[in-house]
Structure formats: structure tokens, C-alpha cells
């Protein structure tokens, strides 16, 4: 590790902290109290959208209505994407002729299972990609089928979080907001203005934005090189801000076109965390005690910094197996270009790669600027654990906050009993139904990750099976032994967590993995989001209980520590056995000098 590296990390944290409050205030205005300065300009468009969509945005919904609207919208938009992907060969804006007879030889076919996986994955804000963008997707598919979800899945997540915040903020009420209003206002007043300037910024740094066919270059040595083109920057902006992570190109944010410079990298990292960080302030603001929001942010920051420190430390320590081959890996000599550079870009180095890997998995982003599969075992453990904890450390747009609030509810329930009262959180008593919903939330994630990983690590299929051409499902790994297991575990953790990053060695574009991973994304999104909205419904009806000195204060350091402990213990206890057989054992093996 280097001072220069830590300086970049510290700057990042500082800028994020400074932006939290204004962002939170702005979200509060847009989503709840009104008064966004953009309202005069965009108001007519907002009303036009409601009219065209035929919705009454002023009608408040009960939690059931909210959840139904969200589900219906997600289902329809998922079908829409599936249809577009399957039909891309017949649709315009396809200069490379993907899914047509004139497709290049290196193109990937858009099969039914791949289209299902992709549609599910983008609808759920996961953006797991079993395909490579530059070899599969027409420009229309990228923009209309995929980028649509980059916008609306983020806005829907924000809506669900707002519903839960309203559950805490309102009392003796029965409605939690209007789904379409939340969806449209988030897209229009929050995502759109930021993405507008963000796109321009990215292009200024070197990202591409055009509709040209791929460029064929003749290199200095006379070889042919294909350079991909397309409307990339506009999609990159929402991919990061919406914490989606589905890259326009296969290498994602490691690709020089998606992430051309260290500055673009800094802004991309910032844009992952900015909305979830702001939402913690919004939460505090709306429950009329901003300290509550800061406490959540403090817990997030502590977990995040711990992750960065571990990941950076192990990446900087590097791979001793490489050192044995006479390779200089010491950061003392090479700075942040030493350590483990496999899968990393020189312009980012170790610190920015470790930071990005931690951020993208703390949040449910899944964009990567280095290949996670090639991280050191312990360095790779960090993203894996981050995802398995439920991506509540900042997390997705909305999904991070509602996940964190679910854990706050659990923490208050376990610890609150110890002060001798029925547990309360921000003035709401935590009772049977709330605990039930919180447990359902936690259970859904563990179930999907563990069971599907278990299935995939032992399922025997004949070689060439149409379900999975490589045969047994554990043949799809790119690395043998413990690391192979990590690849499978990571894939289901990532899809269940709606992250989308990968230990990308796994060959996942087979019917078996496309379907199981697609299912995991749906479970991870909806079986977790619906309990969160139900929790909102249960909370919103409750009376407000004023805090007294007998109430466990949830804004102090003690709560922060407890919250972290509950998150770590619940997460670690669930996944520790699996992690032992993956990264942990690999760490020891690496230091024993074992190769597989």
C-alpha cells in the first residue's frame, strides 16, 4: 500500500461525505416534499408522461397496491426487453448485423435462455452479463432494451426505499406513496439531469458516443484491429448512477472507452455511492432526526473502509507465486503498479482497483474496473462478502437503504430486548410482522445463493448436454479447485445480490446457468423487495412512540457498532462455511505454493 493510494481513497471518502447532505436534501425535495428547482422546466414533461401512461400519480397507494404496481411494471418491462432482444435482428440500429445472417463470425447468438437471463438481470438491476456487449448487442438493444432498465430499475428501487422510509416517517396511516410518481420523478428530476452532464463529462474524458459501425484500424505493425463504436457514454452514465453495472462492452469499466482516465474512474466511483449515501440523509430528514441517517451512513462507511483496507492490503501484497518467477511485485519499488496486477489496468493501479472493487460490490453495481476473478484470494473475498452481506453498505439505489433498514430492524429487535422494552426504531415498535418480513428478506438471499451454488457444484450432466454443453455444471469453471468453487459461489451470490459483477471465468452462457442465474436475480430482487414494502405497510399503520431515556437510542455509536456486528454475524455465519472452501482455503494454498 502507498500513501498516494490512501490519499486517493481518503479524497474519495471526503468528497462523498461532503456531497451526502446536499444530495439527500435534493432527493427529499424531489421524492417527498416538492420544490425541486427543475420543476418549472420539467413539470410539463412529468405531467405529459403521466397522461401518456394513463396513471393518476396523485393517488396514494397502500403497500399492496404499491407492490403490485411495481411487480406489474417490472414484469411488463422485462417481457418488453425479452422481445426486443429476441427480435434485434429484425430491428434498426444494428450496423454490425447481430442476430442476422450477416453477423460477424465472432458474434454471440441471442438464444432464448440468454435473452431471458439478460432481461431478468437488467430488470432486477443486476446486469449480470452472460454475453459480451460488443459481440452480441445491436445499438437498439443496448439503448432501448437494456438502458431502459438502467433507468427504471434504479428508480423502482428508489421507490421501494421511499415506501419504506414513509413507513417509518408516517404514522397511523395506511398508504406508502404512489409507485408511478416515484418512478417518474426519480427518473426525471434525479437521474436525468445528472446523466446529462455526466455523459458530456465522460465523452470529454474519452468515452465514445456515436452510431457508427465498428472501426477497422491498421496498427503500426500492420495488423488489423477492430475498434468498437456506439452510443456508449449515455449508457455508461446511467449504468453507474443507477448502480446497474451492465457494461456496453465486455470489459466493463476496465475498458478504456467506458472508463478512459483516472478522473473518469473517480467520478464513476462517486456516482455509484452518491445516491445511496444521499438516501441515508433523506431517511434521517424524513423521520425528523437526521442523526438516524448519519448513524446508518457511519455503519456503511465503517464496513466499506474495512473492505477497502483488506482488499487493498492483499492486492498490494500480491501473489507470492509470481514473485517466485523473478517478478518484482513490491509496492515499495513499483508503487501502486506492483502487487497483483493481473486483471488490472495501469491507469488505475492497485488503490483505484481495490477501491472500485469494494465500492461496486458494497453497492449492487457490478461494474468492474479490474477482473475480480484474478484478485488475490483475500482481495477477492472482500467483494464476495460484500455481496453476500446483502449489498447494504450503500447498496443499490434504494435497495441498499431498504436492506440496511431491514438489518437495523433486526439489530434493534435483538439488542432492543436487552434494554427491557419492546424494541423500537425511529419511533416505531418492532413487532411480529416486522420481524417476519425482515427474516424473509434475509432468508431469501441465503436460500437462493446457497442452494443454487450447491446444485451447480455437483450436478452431473453428460458432455454436450443441451442444458450445459460442457457437461457437469462444475465443468464450466475457468479455474480448478478452490478458485473454481469461488467462481460458482460468486456467480450465484452476485445474481442473488443483484450485483452483476463476476468471477468472470465461469462460462455462464449455457441454458443451465442462464436460467438458474436469471432465477437468482428474480429471487434476489422481488422476494427481497416485497417483504421490504410489506414492512413499510406494517410500519406505516403504527403509532409513533416518542423516545424516552428508556428507549435504545439508534443514533449513537453503540447502535452503529451493534448494527455492524449484526450484519457481520448474520452474513458471516451464513456464508462462512462456503467461504472456507473457496477464498479462505485458496489463500492458504497460495501461501503453500500450490498450483491447480
Amino acid at each position: 500500500m502507498t500513501i498516494a493510494g490512501w490519499l486517493q481513497i481518503a479524497t474519495y471518502c471526503l468528497v462523498l461525505l461532503i456531497l451526502t447532505r446536499p444530495t439527500g436534501l435534493y432527493i427529499t425535495r424531489v421524492m417527498e416534499t416538492g420544490g425541486s428547482p427543475l420543476e418549472p422546466a420539467l413539470g410539463p414533461l412529468e405531467r405529459l408522461i403521466y397522461r401518456l401512461a394513463g396513471v393518476d400519480a396523485d393517488k396514494e397507494m397502500r403497500w399492496t397496491g404499491y407492490a403490485l404496481a411495481l411487480l406489474a411494471f417490472s414484469m411488463i418491462s422485462m417481457l418488453f426487453t425479452y422481445a426486443l432482444l429476441r427480435l434485434q435482428g429484425f430491428l434498426p440500429l444494428n450496423p454490425m448485423g447481430f442476430s442476422t445472417p450477416s453477423a460477424p463470425a465472432w458474434a454471440t447468438a441471442m438464444t432464448a435462455d440468454l435473452a431471458f437471463n439478460t432481461a431478468a438481470s437488467f430488470t432486477t438491476n443486476t446486469n449480470w452479463q452472460s454475453y459480451s456487449g460488443e459481440g452480441t448487442m445491436s445499438y437498439l438493444s443496448q439503448m432501448l432494451a437494456l438502458a431502459l432498465h438502467n433507468w427504471v430499475s434504479a428508480a423502482a428501487g428508489m421507490g421501494a426505499a421511499m415506501a419504506l422510509i414513509r413507513g417509518f416517517a408516517r404514522h397511523s396511516a395506511d398508504t406508502v406513496g404512489n409507485f408511478f410518481r416515484d418512478l417518474v420523478r426519480c427518473s426525471l428530476y434525479i437521474l436525468f439531469p445528472i446523466c446529462f452532464f455526466y455523459t458530456l463529462f465522460l465523452v470529454w474524458q474519452g468515452s465514445i458516443q456515436n452510431f457508427a459501425p465498428y472501426t477497422v484500424a491498421i496498427t503500426l505493425e500492420g495488423a488489423k484491429q477492430i475498434i468498437p463504436q456506439g452510443p456508449l457514454a449515455s449508457q455508461e452514465a446511467i449504468k453507474m448512477l443507477g448502480i446497474n453495472g451492465g457494461g456496453f462492452l465486455n470489459a466493463n469499466s476496465a475498458h478504456p472507452f467506458e472508463n478512459p482516465t483516472p478522473l473518469s474512474n473517480f467520478i464513476e466511483m462517486l456516482s455509484i455511492f452518491i445516491l445511496p449515501a444521499g438516501l441515508t440523509y433523506t431517511f434521517g430528514k424524513l423521520v425528523k432526526d437526521t442523526r438516524q441517517g448519519w448513524a446508518l451512513l457511519a455503519a456503511m462507511f465503517a464496513l466499506f473502509l474495512a473492505g477497502v483496507a483488506v482488499c487493498y492490503h492483499f492486492e498490494a501484497a500480491g501473489n507470492p507465486l509470481m514473485a517466485r518467477q523473478g517478478v518484482e511485485i513490491s509496492t515499495a519499488g513499483l508503487g501502486d503498479l506492483g502487487g497483483n496486477m493481473e486483471g488490472k489496468e495501469v491507469r488505475f493501479g492497485l488503490a483505484n482497483s481495490a477501491l472500485f472493487a469494494t465500492i461496486t460490490t458494497c453497492a449492487s453495481c457490478g461494474a468492474v474496473n479490474c477482473m475480480h476473478d484474478s484478485l488475490t484470494p483475500m482481495g477477492g473475498l472482500v467483494p464476495l462478502i460484500n455481496i453476500q452481506l446483502g449489498e447494504i453498505v450503500f447498496g443499490g439505489v434504494g435497495s441498499g437503504l431498504y436492506g440496511m433498514l431491514v438489518f437495523a430492524v433486526l439489530t434493534v429487535f435483538i439488542a432492543g430486548l436487552m434494554v427491557g422494552r419492546t424494541p423500537e426504531y425511529v419511533g416505531k415498535k418492532i413487532e411480529q410482522k416486522d420481524v417476519k418480513m425482515a427474516m424473509l428478506f434475509v432468508l431469501a438471499g441465503s436460500f437462493s445463493t446457497l442452494v443454487l451454488t450447491a446444485l451447480s457444484s455437483v450436478l452431473e450432466l453428460p458432455a454436450g448436454s443441451p442444458l450445459n454443453p460442457p457437461g457437469a455444471t462444475w465443468h464450466n469453471v475457468n479455474n480448478a479447485a478452490a478458485h473454481g468453487f469461488s467462481e460458482i459461489l460468486y456467480s450465484f451470490s452476485s445474481c442473488t445480490g443483484n450485483n452483476g459483477s463476476a468471477f468472470a471465468g465461469l462460462t455462464s452462457n449455457t441454458p443451465f446457468y442462464n436460467v438458474t442465474l436469471g432465477l437468482a436475480t428474480l429471487i434476489g430482487r422481488f422476494i427481497m423487495m416485497i417483504p421490504a414494502i410489506a414492512l413499510a405497510g406494517s410500519l406505516v399503520a403504527k403509532k409513533y412512540v416518542p423516545a424516552s431515556s428508556g428507549t435504545f437510542p439508534t443514533h449513537g455509536w453503540l447502535f452503529v457498532v451493534l448494527l455492524i456486528a449484526v450484519i457481520l454475524i448474520v452474513g458471516a455465519l451464513t456464508f462462512f462455511p462456503a467461504l472456507t472452501l473457496g477464498p479462505v482455503v485458496e489463500h492458504f494454498l497460495m501461501h503453500c505454493g500450490r498450483l491447480f
Partner: protein, 208 residues
Amino acid sequence: MLEQLIPALRATVVLGVLTGLVFPLLMTALCQLLLPYEANGSLVRHKDGHIIGSTLIGQQFASPQYFHGRPSAAGSGYSGEASAGSNLGPTSARLIVGQQDNPTTAGVDESFAGVKQLADAYRKENLLSAQDRVPVDAVTRSGSGLDPHISPENAMLQARRVASARALPLREVAALVEQHTQGRQLGFLGEPRVNVLELNLALDEIKR
């Protein structure tokens, strides 16, 4: 149910058009107007007009008179249509000691250069001794497979070879490397690095 589905469908179409068509078209128009060079891929043209490549995208260099980029896992090496890393884990034998071609499978080349082979080759072409340690970026594949940069240490170690291949004084080549070493952006972001294509273009300039 229908009362839920119809607004959902209408909203999908309306928002799809706005976010999926209007927004990218609007942004493309603006970018083409304001930043056409960047928006089209920062392409470098040869004086005869053909496109050499993009300053942002690394390309394969094998001949001794050019600086070499990092090993690449993109396709056959720096294939722009197949950006990718190696996705090999730290205990992978392929990654560390490489893999030989299997002679029984004709037509398929399984050979893969591991860190060991890459380091040996690097030492050999740059006339280093067996004890000399090779900078790690020279033997590892980047995440994109299209990394346009190498570390300044890596560049300096190659300078001697390039100088002798081009019959240029080492000092001049080394000065060129230094000249093309980009510092940290805004003074603190990222790592000092050398853009290989730009450096090689500059070398070709000297030749004339």
C-alpha cells in the same frame, strides 16, 4: 390484474422511448457537436489517411523497435471486438507456469504463456540477467486486454532494446520515455504511466 398491467405497459413504452431513444439521441447529437474527436473514439490517423488506432486502446507490438504493451487476453491479443481479462485466479497453474500445446489435438492451440514464460521472454528480449526482476505489469494481462499503458519502470527496461533496434542513443529514447510519462491526473489521481501507442508514434517521428 388488467388495471395493473395496462398502465405498466404504457409506462414502459413511454419511459422506453424517453430513456432509450430520446436521451441517447440527444446526447449523441450534443457530443458530436461539442466533442467530435472524443465521441468517435480518439482515433489516430496515419498521414496517408488510414486509421492507425485509438490512443485509448492498446495495440499489439511484437517487433523490437517498438515498445511493447502488456500481455493481452483480448482475443488473439488486443482484439478490440473481444475485450477481456484472463480471468485466471492466483493459484492457477496456467497463470503462473503456463500451458503447453497438446499435440494430440491438431488445429487447437492450447499453449498459454504463464508468468514464468512471459518473464523469461521479457528478460531475454531486453537482455536482462536471470536475477533481474521483471516489473509485474509486464507479465500480467490487464482487465480489458486493451490496456494502452505500461508502467514507467517497464518502459525504461525496454528502452535499451528499442534504442539498439533503432540505432538511437539510449539517452534519446529514455528522454522520450520520460517525456511520454503521464503524471497523476490533477496531481493525485491514478498512476504515472506511459501510453505505448503514443510513445511508439513519437519514436516513428524521430526516425524521419
